[in-house]
């Protein structure tokens, strides 16, 4: 346990040393922080209407103004971040865990299983994500869980393929042969020796994937197929703002800016994570 | 005087790192005369690769030239512009690398690559192709005309290294730098390549700077030898002087360690205990002192200069000074 803690510290210090990585850490940290403590941060109830104060610009009492129903945009943005993470984190980590397992089995297991899993992955990937999402939502109705499920299902193949390629490269490396020569079981080889060498690559992929999922959630909510109103979501904010852009630009900014900032933050984090998880690059420091 | 082609004069090169300056090369001096083969011997960490990249000026961004000059045909390469260096590389100075698997572009035929590197010549394509075939024949590739249309993966490792040599010699360079060109090959192929290199060198009259850790190859191929240890030249001179009367303990011990040197079966082979010192934190005195069994007080405190110890023979060791032996 002590080892993995120091590993995590090395990774975080490594990311923070890179200016972009530092920015990524700060942004992602702020988003996560505001999502966790949203209830204490928001000055107003994000779904409480106040018709008298509708469509205001920024002021001290409403930092980002209000929407057409007089709801505080700042509060809705913060709560929307919470919703975005509630979708993105389980979807991405779920897809990563399942993709990793299937990919490693495909890469290390028998050829027929590999062929079968690859066929499965290719089949899933051949559905256009948005069409697939629309179909599922049409069937079971819009909800947070549906979005999570759809996103997870469509991103499993990506993780699976990467994990499989990594496994195939590693399986013929000398240290795996050495483990086999000592009689290590398949579970031990996969879990103890391959996993730590694959997970870094997937973690990078996941960090870069989170903004895509946030954008997808926003997109689905924009189309009215994501999170049900009045629950605030960045996509829903954007949708309202789009309709009212002639009257006030603040709603579009309130909905669009967080998506841009979150995308940048996670991408910076992912890119600097990529540089840090490679032990060969780390050695040169 | 005028027969000197490459002159490394008091060259010191550092790498800037987070731990401080890594003194990769310190006060390196030696020269390569026209049409001679100079061998550079040294183990890991001796600075061979820094030396090569400094000569070619293909350096990492954290490289700092602290002192010295690299004079090629009289002009200092460290002061040359990037444009001048480009004109020199692959024309007057060519290089053959260690790994024959990675030197060629995998998607172009060997013939195409050999024609491409003649981009400086105005000759028509047919003539260039003919020249390529001649070069392949010269390095001992049978049926060269037909093999020009093949791709690198269709050749064996030994063949690819020959092709690399053919390409390097195509421009008839004055200096060929060979960086461990036979290390990745079997002994039988190694010998073939060395012999071929020797023949070509005689025919083309070019100088060769041959870097290797294989003492046997150096002894067989080279006219003069430079022995490097941890970023410094510890001994240099005529190949016979170096192998028959080494004047530096490191050279002596290195030759003793070569199992090819020991004729009868030995239960215990000689070794040099210890490790190369940390170049970011160089101890005082002689760089070899910690592994030297003859080190004295003086070796602990002062760096021995590289001085003449006989005709065509230099060494950097206090043991060669009369005050010590007297």
């Amino acid at each position: 346990m002590e080892k993995s803690q120091s590993e995590i510290r090395i990774i975080i210090v490594g990311i923070a040393k890179n200016p972009l990585g530092f920015m990524g850490l700060v942004i992602v940290g702020a988003i996560v922080f505001s999502a966790i403590f949203a209830a204490w941060i928001v000055p107003y109830d994000p779904i409480e209407m106040n018709i008298r104060d509708r469509m205001q610009g920024p002021s001290w009492s409403h930092l980002l103004g209000t929407d057409q129903l007089g709801r505080d945009t700042f509060s809705r943005v913060i709560t929307g971040g919470q919703v975005a993470l509630k979708v993105a984190l389980p979807a991405v980590f779920g897809a990563m865990a399942i993709g990793l397992t299937l990919g490693m089995v495909a890469g290390y297991g028998p050829k027929w299983l590999d062929n079968f899993l690859m066929l499965l992955f290719d089949t899933i990937r051949s559905f256009p994500t948005v069409m697939f999402a629309l179909a599922v939502v049409a069937l079971v109705g819009p909800s947070l869980q549906t979005v999570v499920l759809v996103v997870m299902a469509t991103s499993i193949p990506t993780y699976g393929r990467v994990a499989r390629t990594q496994t195939l490269t590693l399986r013929n490396s000398e240290f795996i042969l050495a483990e086999r020569s000592m009689g290590a079981s398949m579970a031990r080889i996969l879990g103890v020796h391959m996993l730590p060498n694959i997970i870094g690559v997937l973690a990078v992929l996941a960090a870069m994937d989170i903004p895509t999922v946030i954008a997808l959630e926003a997109g689905l909510s924009f189309l009215g197929l994501g999170v049900k109103p009045p629950t605030p979501s960045w996509g829903a904010l954007l949708k309202d703002g789009y309709a009212l852009v002639r009257q006030t630009p603040w709603l579009v900014i309130g909905g669009g800016l967080p998506i841009i900032v979150a995308t940048l933050g996670f991408t910076f984090l992912g890119e600097s994570l990529r540089d840090v998880v490679d032990p060969k690059l780390r050695k040169n420091q | 005087m005028t027969d000197v082609l490459l002159e490394i004069d008091n060259l010191s090169v550092d790498y800037e790192t987070a731990r401080g300056d890594l003194k990769a090369l310190r006060n390196i001096s030696f020269d390569v005369r026209k049409a001679e083969i100079v061998g550079i011997v040294g183990e890991s960490g001796c600075g061979k690769s820094t030396l090569i990249s400094s000569i070619l000026r293909l350096i990492a961004p954290n490289t700092r030239f602290r002192s010295g000059e690299i004079r090629f045909d009289g002009s200092d390469l460290l002061k040359a512009t990037e444009r001048e260096m480009r004109a020199l590389r692959g024309d007057e100075i060519s290089i053959v690398f260690q790994d024959p698997m990675q030197t060629h572009n995998p998607v172009l035929s060997v013939g195409q690559q050999m024609i491409d590197i003649q981009h400086r010549s105005k000759a028509p394509k047919g003539e260039k192709r003919e020249k390529a075939a001649q070069m392949l024949a010269a390095v001992g590739i049978p049926d060269p005309e037909a093999r020009l249309d093949q791709f690198p993966h269709e050749f064996s490792g030994g063949m690819r290294q020959r092709i690399a040599i053919a390409m390097a010699l195509m421009s008839e360079p004055n200096l060929l730098i060979a960086d461990e060109p036979t290390t990745a090959l079997d002994a039988t192929l190694e010998v073939q390549i060395i012999e071929r290199l020797q023949e070509l060198q005689r025919e083309m009259d070019c100088a060769i700077l041959f870097i290797s850790h294989h003492l046997g190859v150096i002894a067989e191929l080279c006219d003069r030898v430079v022995v490097m240890y941890a970023g410094a030249v510890v001994e240099s001179g005529d190949v016979r002087k170096i192998f028959h009367e080494p004047k530096h303990p490191y050279t002596r011990r290195l030759i003793e360690c070569d199992p090819g040197h020991i004729k009868t079966r030995a239960r215990i082979l000689p070794t040099i205990p210890g490790e190369v010192p940390d170049l970011a934190n160089i101890p005082d005195g002689c760089i070899f002192r910690d592994r030297c069994n003859q080190a004295t007080e003086r070796c602990m405190a002062h760096v021995p200069p590289l001085e003449s110890v006989g005709e065509e023979h230099m060494a950097a060791c206090w043991l060669n000074h009369e005050e010590v032996t007297a």
Binding site: S181, N197, K280 | D186, T188, E190, H213, P259, G260, L269
Partner: protein, 307 residues
Amino acid sequence: MTLLSVDNLKTSYGPVNVLAGISFDVAPGETYALVGESGSGKTTVIRAIAGLAPAQEGSVKFDGQQIRGIPERSLRPLRKDMAMMFQDPVGSLSPRMTIGKLITEPYKIQGMRDRDLDAEAKRLLEMVNLPAHFANRYPYQLSGGQARRVGVARALALEPKLILADEPTAGLDVSVQGELLNLLNDLRERLGLAMVIITHNLSVVKHVADRMGIMYLGRLVEEGTTETIFESPRHPYTRCLLSANPEPDPDARLERIALKGEPPSLLNRPTGCEFRERCPFSQNICTNTPAWETSDGHGHRCLAPLT
């Protein structure tokens, strides 16, 4: 008494016959060297012995027990007595494990949970002359020589009877190479280990091997005690290999016997003697296929052997 007996072992990958029938025995405590050019099948031999490469035909008997093609489950208990060393000293160590964990890996795999692993790690590091604090380092922090010692420590952890070593001195500096060979020699004598060592460095073979076999295109072409082979090789290929070993002496102009060309493709094996086309001594008779002949423990596969 033999510890390892390999008989007519054959391996092919599709149409490529990598091993075309290899036979040799290793006695307990004996060091046997396999030499030959790249592509001669040396590495495949020891991997096939250890069950890491397929072998379609022949037999491998270890301690009297047939082990070719038996399932991993039955092989695992035998692996205690048979350890391997790989070519790349750093690359054969799992990159994200500490040295302490790596060298006690055999105990964990063999289910010896009662051992004090920290104490074992210390003992093993001491045995290969590495300081105890190396247990906390990672493979990428080691030099080639140090990583090689870790490989030796791990191979010796369970006190095996046989070590299969693939180019144990590859990538090491001359001054460190001697240290490793001395260590192996010493441990071998103390622990009574047998070794099969693969190398293309004949100078190394001379100092460590009791007997040696020379491989060409997946076959043995000569076998005998190291002394006999170095003094009076019978097969021209052996003679060529021995002469292609530059000595560190500028005046040593040995009689070099040039080998013509390069090894032929395994897909297109020559008829008759397979070395015929490269042989400087080939005769008309060599179009016939040579059989394996032995006298006094010195065997060769040549129709016109050297005297």
